[in-house]
Amino acid sequence: MDWMAWTWPTAIFFMVIAALLITFTILAIRFPETPRVGVLGIETTRGDRLFITLLGSAFINLAWLGLIGPDTQPWALAVCLVYAAAVFRWV
C-alpha cells in the first residue's frame, strides 16, 4: 500500500464515500422506491440524487477554493450540506 501514498484525510474521504454507497445500497434493498421527477425534469432515484449531490459538492468546493480561498474551506462543506438537502428534497 506504500506506493499509493495514503494520508489520513484522503483515507477518511474515501471511507465516507464508501459508507455512503453502502448505506444507499442497504436503503435501496430495504426500502425499494419508484423514481420521481423533480425540478430538473428528469427521473431520479435516491442513488441518482446522491450522485448529483457528490458531483455538485466537488464543484462547490473547487469554486469556494478558487473564489474565496482555503482559510474558510470548511464552510464550503456547510454549503454542500444545504445543497445536498435541496437536491434530496426537490430534484
Binding site: 499509493m4 427521473e43 458531483l55 477554493l65
Partner: protein, 289 residues
Amino acid sequence: MEKTVNQKAWFLVLPVLILVAFSAVIPLMTVVNYSVQDTFGNNQFFWAGLEWFQDMLSSDRMWEALWRQLMFSGIILAIEIPLGIFVALNMPKGGFWSSFCLVLMSLPLLIPWNVVGTIWQIFGRVDIGLLGHTLDRLGISYNYTQDTLAAWFTIIVMDVWHWTSLVALLAFAGLKSIPDAYYQAAKIDQASRWKVFRYIELPKMMGVLMIAILLRFMDSFMIYTEPFVVTGGGPGNATTLLSIDLVKMALGQFDLGPAAAFSLMYFLVILLISWVFYTVMVNLDKKGM
C-alpha cells in the same frame, strides 16, 4: 406460489468489479492521494493540503489549456456531426455500393492514432507533403510548425478526416432502421425533402446521434496522440490541449502533485458533461425517440 429469490448471479459480476478496481478505482484513489502531497521521488511524500488545487485554479496555463480544449471539441463536433449526417444521407441504401461505401468509410477508423498523426505531419509538410506543397505552390502561406492558424487547421482537418466516418456510420445505422412506411406516408402527404429530414429522419436518428456526440466529445476532450505527433503542442503553446499539458506537467516536469490536482479537475469536468449527455440520452429514449 412464492417466487424463489436467488441473487447468486451477482457473483458473476465479480471479475468485472476486480478488473475495474485495478484499472480505474485504485489508480484514481492514488491520484487523489498524490493531489494533496508533494514528492521529490523516492516514494517520499509531504503533506501539501489544498495548495495544488489552489495553484491550479489560479493558473493561467490550466485555464488556457481548458479553453483551447473546449474550442477544439466544439469545432470538431460542429463539423463532424453535420458532415457525418450529410454523408450518411447520401450513401447508397443497399447493394454492392452500400457495402463498398461502408468498408471505405471504416478505413480511417482502423488506423492507429500515432500513424494518423504521422500521416498528417508528412502530408502537411511544405517540402515533401502533398497538402503543404500544393498550398505553397498556390501561394498560400502554410506552415503548421510556426503559424497558429495553420496548426489548428491541420489538427482539426486531421480529426475530421479520422472520425467523421464514425458519425456517418452511426447515422447510417439510424437511417436504415426507419421503416419504409414513414417515407410512403411522407410521399402521400407530398412532404418536401427538408420536411422528411426534419420530421422523420432526424427524430429517428436522435438516439444514435446522441451516442455519436457523446463518443466524439469524450474522445476529442481526451485527445493526446494525434496533435502531439503533428505539432507537439506548438507553435508556442497554441495547440497544447489539456492532456498534452497534463503529460508535460506530470512526466516532463515530474510535478506529480499539481498534475494530480489538474487531472482530478479534468476528470470532474468530463464526468459532469458525460452525465449531462447520458441523462439527455436516457430521457430521449423514454420519450420514444
